[in-house]
């Protein structure tokens, strides 16, 4: 649910196309061919999903050059149109924006009456999400679950400039933007499906490491039970290792993948803040839900993953598994481009965004 436009500052007018779209979009038509785009990070991740009957299939996936996310400064947001290869050109697009300024919170609010629902307004979310007063953000929320007298609301916000920027990446023709999501929320969608399909109701922690932000989510009985955003990502890890080993930044990935040096100590030091978050999440969920976390799945920009297991096992007592989001769905032969190999774990947001559209109408 997007908050009413009159409460959102600096929203663009729809114009002729928008008015026409209002007539045509009843949200009734079934979208069966959707491309999921994850933009704003070091690479642009693109997946194309198609649904035939009840089965969704991964048709194509590719990594494209990055498109630069606009800063918070004022100025016109007019990026060059995003040109997709033919194999990835679906009719509709679900765009997920990876932004350090995006804010995601799992809020607990009183449930039930219409009055309570009326309280879920722009000011409420601005305050609860800690957004600076007067800033132009677009805010949306989804009620995730209702327990006793409380309901868990997943609220997301994105700077207005970045939402306009994301929409203007696809200014005309196909694909047409059909959904705009924040990456951290979109990947929850993909992970939720993975849990349902392969892990049952096992309490699990999902960690998605991005370039600048890491998302940690805990699921209990298949539902989101806790969510946390850490302003620490692979860039910070690379910088730490660079300082510890004294090598150039661009040599860090190669050094971590080779066995030439032992990077376990620098890695452990670099991911230490993430480990603290993991512990916090585990303790919160286990105490509140009276359960034991059974699985930890990692995805995203996993540099030197082989050095991660030991420190994680040390603090969590569980061996983490690397999760490939592209395995969530059946995959057509030749769907994955050569560039994708080795980077499969980065596609959780793109997959989640596309799945949200496909499953929204199924």
């Amino acid at each position: 649910m997007v908050l009413p436009a009159d409460l959102v500052k600096n929203t663009l007018g729809g114009g002729v196309t928008g008015a026409f779209a209002k007539l045509k979009f009843g949200r009734k038509a079934v979208r069966t061919d959707v491309v999921g785009l994850d933009v704003g990070d070091a690479t642009t991740r693109v997946v194309r999903l198609m649904r035939l009957g009840d089965t969704s299939t991964l048709v194509a996936a590719d990594l494209l050059p990055p498109v630069e996310l606009p800063s918070d400064e004022t100025g016109e947001v007019r990026p060059a149109p995003l040109l997709l290869p033919k194999a990835l050109r679906a009719r509709y697009a679900a765009v997920a924006v990876t932004s350090p300024q995006a804010c995601i919170r799992l809020l607990s609010v009183p449930a039930g009456t219409d009055n309570n629902r009326a309280n879920l307004n722009f000011g409420f979310f601005m305050e609860r999400m800690g957004l600076p007063e007067g800033s132009a953000h677009r805010i949306g929320y989804e009620i995730v679950s209702t327990e006793n007298r409380d309901q868990n609301v997943l609220a997301v916000s994105l700077p207005e400039r970045q939402t306009r920027w994301a929409v203007s990446l696809l200014p005309q023709g196909i694909p047409a933007p059909y959904s705009l999501q924040v990456s951290g929320a979109a990947e929850l969608n993909c992970f939720s499906r993975e849990l349902t399909a392969h892990h049952g109701d096992a309490p699990a922690i999902f960690m998605q490491i991005g370039s600048d932000v890491t998302h940690v989510a805990a699921f209990y009985k298949g539902r989101l039970a806790f969510y946390r955003q850490c302003q620490l990502g692979s860039h910070a890890i690379v910088r730490t290792i660079q300082e510890k080993l004294g090598i150039e930044e661009k040599l860090v990935p190669g050094a971590l993948e080779d066995d030439l040096i032992d990077a376990s100590a620098p890695i452990a030091a670099a991911i230490e803040p993430l480990l603290r978050q993991l512990v916090l999440v585990r303790e919160f969920v286990e105490r509140k839900r009276t359960c034991r976390i059974e699985k930890i799945l990692l995805s995203g920009s996993l540099l030197g993953t082989k050095y991660w297991n030991e420190p994680i096992v040390k603090v969590m007592g569980i061996v983490p598994a690397t999760w490939n989001p592209l395995d969530t769905l059946p995959c057509q032969p030749g769907a994955l481009a050569e560039r994708v190999k080795g980077n499969e774990s980065r596609f959780a947001s793109a997959m989640g965004a596309a799945l949200a559209v496909l499953e929204m109408e199924s």
Partner: protein, 211 residues
């Protein structure tokens, strides 16, 4: 459970069409403007053309008008004359050619018959199947004769009236009641009585229509 927090506004949604609607609108606008301009130019050119044609036609009319009026007068006169001619022709058709009738009667009447009177009556009527006026004639003959066989002479006269010289026009010939009778008169110088036969004949002609 789907975690779908959609930040897209309805105004930002658009139809997934490979055709750029903005471009289509622009091209459409240019085409419509072009067609409108062409229409206006064509209209203007046709207007000028029509004006020239009108002026030429007026000049031609001014030149031809006296001739036209004279022609119309001639036509009216011709129509009136034709109507008069038709009227006269219809009158002519209803007229009985009395000269021919009398000549034929003179030629065909037996020598022993002496005609005493001949009266032709004319009456107006209408055709049985339509409202067209007709003119009918009836010839009334009286005469006398002597001789041994007067009946034969009268029959001969009737046959004459029924002959082709009359038959095209004569419908019926009849002898009225008491139309053939004898009288005895003193006529001889010796004062001897003499038998004279008197007869009457009605000869009805076919109606002649004004058609």
């Amino acid at each position: 459970m789907t975690y779908h927090v959609d930040l897209l506004l309805d105004d930002e949604r658009r139809i997934a069409s490979p055709v750029n609607m903005r471009l289509v609108l622009r091209v459409g606008g240019v085409v419509v403007a072009g067609i409108s301009l062409l229409f206006i130019v064509t209209l203007f050119a046709k207007g000028r053309d029509a004006k020239f044609q009108s002026e030429a036609a007026q000049a031609q009319w001014a030149r031809l008008e006296p001739q036209f009026k004279y022609l119309m007068e001639l036509r009216t006169a011709r129509t009136e004359l034709r109507a008069s001619s038709l009227l006269m022709e219809s009158f002519r058709r209803t007229r009985l050619p009395l000269g021919d009738e009398l000549a034929a009667l003179q030629a065909g009447i037996p020598a022993d018959i002496q005609l005493q009177s001949l009266r032709i009556t004319q009456f107006a009527g209408k055709q049985k199947t339509s409202t067209i006026a007709t003119r009918s004639y009836e010839l009334h003959l009286t005469g006398k004769l002597t001789g041994d066989d007067p009946k034969e002479s009268v029959d001969s006269l009737i046959a004459c009236l029924s002959s082709p010289a009359f038959s095209n026009r004569v419908e019926a010939v009849s002898v009225p009641n008491n139309g053939f009778r004898k009288e005895t008169v003193r006529k001889t110088p010796a004062g001897e009585p003499r038998t004279v036969w008197f007869f009457e004949l009605n000869c009805r002609y076919r109606p002649r229509s004004f058609e």
